[in-house]
């Protein structure tokens, strides 16, 4: 079981309110991703749940039990740190067994659990090595192994992939997702990378300046962002946000169009092609549209446009996002 409920959780460091008050409920078995720009309080929120920081006020329930004042070890949560935080002087085996040893488990039981975790994570051949002799991905797996053996109510991941190179990041992303499929344990994952958030999450919590901007499934957030911040943050390349007369024509203050929802061809907008990036599968084109400004377009890989070409664009009228003066989405 791993149901976590935050009610009015507030955290301030001195005068600064890092988290002015958050209500959030995480269901058992869910993969929840906290995403937001750096400094938005997502790591602090995770550390509050872990118990590594004390809440200034508010209540944290884990499995229906008030855990606000419990020390970290008694909350039944396991954490994977950004730096992995492996114990450098211990072998992989001892690293993974450390929480079991602290719990006073017998040596035979420890060994069985370590072997089991090592098998899941493909670490069996590395058990006698030290962290310093492992690659980044292997260290990451050891850190996960150390979390798994405790059979926690929930796993907490604090930007675990940010120290890996791009290719390894994709592999580890899939491994963590598969791990979640097989363990069915609640996972809370913090990242600033919206691609990680979109690909892994059951539920995304978008944070900005300590406030929850929107909670929902990845596609929810993609299709109906609640406000400008979420609209600009979710999706890659970013949504085009248009203000001025063109927005007024659609009776809103800001008009949002995703680059993939603009067709090149016959349409109402006319402009000059600036930078164009051809990736083969897609082409990202920057177009200086008359009377509107720069618009990013995501077109098919086959399109043949050059710098300076004059083209016409047709936005998909069904998929426009309209926002009012406060930045909230209009229905």
């Amino acid at each position: 079981m791993g149901k976590i409920t935050l009610s009015q959780v507030r955290k301030s460091f001195g005068e600064v309110d890092v988290i002015p008050g958050i209500d959030l409920s995480i269901e058992d078995g869910e993969f929840v991703v906290f995403v937001g720009p750096s400094g938005c309080g997502k790591s602090t929120l995770l550390r509050l749940i872990a118990g590594l920081e004390d809440t200034t006020s508010g209540k944290i329930d884990i499995d229906g039990r008030d855990a606000t004042l419990l020390p970290p070890a008694q909350r039944g949560l396991a954490m994977v740190f950004q730096s992995y935080a492996l114990y450098p002087h211990m072998t992989v085996r001892k690293n993974i067994a450390f929480p079991l040893k602290m719990a006073g488990m017998s040596a035979a039981e420890q060994e069985a659990k370590v072997q089991h975790a090592a098998k899941i994570l493909n670490l069996t051949n590395y058990l006698d090595r030290r962290p310093g002799q492992l690659s980044g991905g292997q260290r990451q797996r050891v850190a996960i192994g150390r979390a798994i053996v405790r059979e926690p109510a929930a796993f907490l991941f604090d930007e675990p992939l940010s120290n890996l190179d791009a290719a390894l990041r994709v592999t580890m992303r899939q491994e963590i997702s598969e791990l979640h499929q097989s363990l069915k344990t609640t996972m809370i994952y913090v990242t600033h990378d919206q691609v990680e958030a979109m690909t892994m999450a059951d539920k995304i919590v978008v944070l900005n300046a300590g406030r929850v901007e929107q909670v929902g499934s990845p596609l929810d957030l993609y299709h109906s962002p609640r406000n400008l911040f979420v609209a600009g943050f979710i999706g890659s390349p970013k949504m085009n946000l248009i203000t001025g007369p063109e927005a007024a024509r659609h009776t809103c203050t800001t008009l949002g169009v995703r680059p993939e929802h603009i067709r090149v061809g016959d349409g109402p907008w006319q402009g000059v092609v600036g930078l164009s990036e051809h990736l083969g599968s897609d082409s990202f084109i920057k177009v200086e549209v008359d009377g509107i400004g720069t618009i990013n377009v995501r077109a098919g890989g086959e399109i043949d446009v050059r710098h300076g070409d004059r083209i016409r664009l047709a936005p998909d009228m069904d998929k426009l996002h309209r926002f009012d003066a406060e930045g909230l989405a209009l229905k």
């Binding site: 970290p72 740190f81 935080a85 492996l86 002087h89 929480p99």
Partner: protein, 290 residues
């Protein structure tokens, strides 16, 4: 070729320094070994010539020698234990974010800046003196009779004085090592269920191993040669109860004027120091490997 000629030019330019340093080292060593094999007593200038290993046997078989070696080892080990244990505790303490941290750290370091004989004299006259000392006054206040530290427990008192001087060094090195421990590692251990004591034992102490090794090795080098503190406090006494190897050599050379035997003692001390270094490196040297 340019590199070839610049290399030999570098060698030529370096050589005066290297040769000078070599002479600086070789000449005293050779002279010591030479004197150690000679009859050379300033009180009997007529007795000269080779004495073979007579000086060595005399020094090693003299009644004070065994005691001096033991005293030297007790002094070194005693100071090492006190400085490392207290050093770790003080480092843990001043690593905490406290008000006035900067001043506390300077205060902790200050004993290291005081010249050894000055420190020893202050301890002797202002603290340990059985009639005027602060310790004697304190004992009187709580109704005890004053204790004559340097008379009753001379070696222990000297160990205390020397440990006080070397504590800042140990604290400083251990503190920097402690500060290089990542906080995430400690937090991970906390999440793993390790309480403060276990975190210290399983995470901090292994992390400090290398720093402790450095402290032990460097201090051993200096502690083997402790002399000034003994000279100004006990003069090696009462009897020979606080005579160490360096003090014994001093006694042979400058109190008995027996240069030959003192030189032999110097060579013996060098050999003993190397034996100590050998065992030390075997015991803890592996901590220095990355």
């Amino acid at each position: 070729m340019a590199t070839q000629s610049s290399r030999s030019a570098a060698r030529a330019m370096l050589s005066p320094t290297v040769i000078l340093l070599l002479i600086w080292m070789i000449v005293p060593l050779a002279m010591t070994i030479w004197f150690s094999l000679q009859r050379y007593n300033l009180l009997y200038p007529d007795r000269t010539g080779f004495n073979d290993f007579g000086n060595y046997t005399r020094f090693v078989l003299s009644p004070a020698f065994g005691g001096a070696v033991v005293n030297t080892l007790i002094l070194v080990i005693g100071v090492l234990v006190i400085t490392v244990v207290l050093g770790i505790l003080i480092a843990l303490l001043i690593d905490q974010p406290i008000w006035g941290q900067g001043i506390v750290r300077i205060l902790v370091i200050s004993p290291f800046f005081i010249m050894p004989p000055v420190a020893a004299l202050i301890w002797k006259n202002m603290f340990m003196n059985p009639t005027n000392g602060l310790f004697a006054e304190a004992a009187k206040v709580i109704g005890l009779s004053p204790y004559d530290f340097l008379g009753q427990a001379p070696l222990t008192s000297i160990i205390l004085i020397v440990a006080w001087q070397w504590l800042p060094f140990a604290t400083l090195i251990l503190l920097t090592a402690l500060q290089s421990l990542s906080s995430e590692e400690l937090e991970a251990a906390e999440m793993d269920g390790a309480n403060a004591l276990k975190r210290f034992w399983y995470i901090m102490l292994p992390h400090l191993a290398r720093a402790i090794t450095v402290v032990v090795l460097i201090q051993t080098i200096f502690l083997l040669g402790i002399f000034g503190e003994i000279l100004v406090t006990t003069n090696g006494g009462p009897g020979t109860s606080s005579t160490t190897l360096p003090y014994l050599i001093y006694k042979e050379a400058l109190l008995d004027f027996d240069v030959g035997t003192a030189a032999a003692g110097g060579v013996v001390a060098v050999i003993l120091a190397n034996i100590v270094a050998f065992f030390l490196m075997r015991a803890i040297g592996k901590n220095l490997d990355a």
